[in-house]
């Protein structure tokens, strides 16, 4: 028995080490990116690769990115603003809709749900032209408000949250009704707290997706002062095309906030996605 146990442990250990190496290889692009951002330009492409720079140029590189000709701090702020506001709006809109689609019985519920689901099936690029026209007419081009609205009505959030609301026992709702609570009260005091992990998961995902959104800011924004970070790094790359160390400093800067948000919320996201898929 002892021997068998010991054997399992060793093979597990070996597999862990192998997987660890694979994991590092898998992350090499990231590691290279960070390392390059710390280097002098001429050291970036030296071979064999210097993973730890012999000459640290980090301060110069990052100051160039942040304090240079492109207003990076402004772009950062724009991204944060748009992402946070979109997340708040989308979560709110989706939560109440999801609750209704799962716990309230109203006429046409299933039809409306399917209709809403259909909007999720469309690739955004397919409707971007009429959206642009609509926005032109409504004066929403080149505005953060317009940008926020675009991503705030995603059926994905409603769909996902509905799955979780459906998991709430109907009896809980019934007993609340017995006690005289209307749907509003039931929603706020009972249903909402019960799906908190799902809300957290969706909020994080929505934040990440909005932060990474490149196409919408590209198409719907015009003024440089309104640009988000994704446009910023692409333009930065265009301007400093061949200065790789600077480009890498820019991209690292763009990814870091996401990493922070993700690492803080990672348990939620991973559990949320896994749970959601099993239920589905």
């Amino acid at each position: 028995m002892e021997q068998a146990l010991k054997k399992v442990d060793t093979s597990k250990l070996i597999t862990t080490i192998i997987m660890g190496i694979c994991g590092i290889i898998f992350l090499l692009p990231f590691i290279w990116m960070v390392s390059a951002s710390f280097k002098l330009e001429e050291d970036v492409l030296t071979f064999p690769i210097e993973w730890i720079p012999s000459t640290w140029n980090a301060i110069e590189n990052y100051s160039n990115v942040w304090l240079g000709d492109k207003p990076f701090s402004l772009l950062y702020w724009n991204s944060i603003k748009v992402s946070v506001l979109t997340t708040i709006t989308s979560v709110s809109v989706s939560c109440i809709a999801a609750y209704a689609f799962s716990k309230i019985n109203f006429k046409g519920r299933d039809f409306l749900f399917l209709l809403m689901l259909a909007t999720y099936m469309i690739p955004p690029q397919a409707i971007v032209v009429p959206q642009y026209l609509l926005y032109s007419w409504a004066g929403l081009i080149d505005s953060h408000l317009g940008l926020i609205l675009l991503n705030s009505f995603s059926a994905f959030g409603t769909f996902m949250l509905r799955q979780f609301f459906m998991g709430i026992n109907d009896e809980v709702i019934e007993s609340a009704k017995m006690d005289g609570a209307g749907h509003f009260r039931t929603f706020f005091s009972i249903a909402l707290p019960l799906v908190r992990p799902a809300i957290a998961t969706y909020a994080i995902l929505r934040f990440i997706w909005t932060w990474n959104d490149y196409q919408n800011p590209l198409i719907f924004l015009r003024s440089e002062s309104l640009y988000t970070i994704q446009i910023g790094i692409q333009q930065f790359a265009d301007a400093h095309g061949s200065i790789y160390s600077l480009m890498m400093a820019a991209t690292v800067s763009a990814i870091v906030p996401l990493l922070i948000v993700f690492i803080i919320g990672q348990k939620q996201v991973i559990e949320g996605i896994s749970m959601g898929s099993v239920k589905g």
């Binding site: 397919a126 971007v128 032209v129 209307g182 929603f187 896994s274 749970m275 099993v278």
Partner: protein, 315 residues
Amino acid sequence: MDNPTTIATGIKSKKKITKNRMRFHKWRESLTGYVFIAPMIIGSSILILYPIIASFVLSLTDWNFVSGIEGANFVGLENFITLFKDSIFLKGLTHNVILLLVLPIGLFLSLFLAVVINKKVYFKDTFKIIYFLPYISSTVAIALVFQVLFHPTEGPINQILMTMGIENPPQWIADVHWALPSVMIIIIWTQIGFQLLLYMAALQNIPKELYEAAEIDGASSWYQFRKITVPLVTPTTFLLLVQGIVHTFKVFDLIKVLTNGGPSNSTTVPVHYLYQQAFEELKTGYASAISVILFIILIIVTIFQWVGQKKWVNY
């Protein structure tokens, strides 16, 4: 006077009152429902449903955006006819179909990794995070990094290959034959994390007894994988397959930043062509026709999912 008629009428009127009360409650319930879903429905109707319909209408015109709406002429299916003779569009469609290859490769890798991480390693959670990182990173940033990594002469990847003795490593995104595979590699790299997570969740649901029984019968790990694991995760495989197909048709950011459709249209896809036609060539009507085709393709895929789910998935 409690004769039978009055009692009957009494009961009837009581029933009517209750019925009316129920009807009122139902109405109130419906109203509440509508209020709750209003923001979502109104928002998505204006921002998504309406544009879908508008796209269909626009695809039947030759509007070029700069001339006012009066300059738009109804041209029926002319856009579509031109589209089907448009070599760039057709090339794009072919490329998209080729891109679909990332799915079998990616799914196999993810499932394999999922099986390994699930049972055979320590630090499960750390590995989950590691493999998920590329998925959450911004496509623009990834495209920029890989632009450098894939550099034909100075990029680290080719440097390594050359040291290993390969004299003429692929030119990656500079080469018409290697550009699309480069895109595919990046797509697989980013999607593995997401697919991995879903597979791991599915694996949790496979009853251990099945594996134990197979073990007792002397089945090898590979055999167990083929006969137990793969069949039992078909729901997830199917879900990922369909989502994957939709995703590959939507890949825009990566291509726009990495290759912008080149070199010489070797990485163009319908979605990218759409952007070009709509916002660079300003041929709105024509671009809308592309939208309609994409929409139709994806609806077909979705229907396929609905139908196929019943036939091929083991629950």
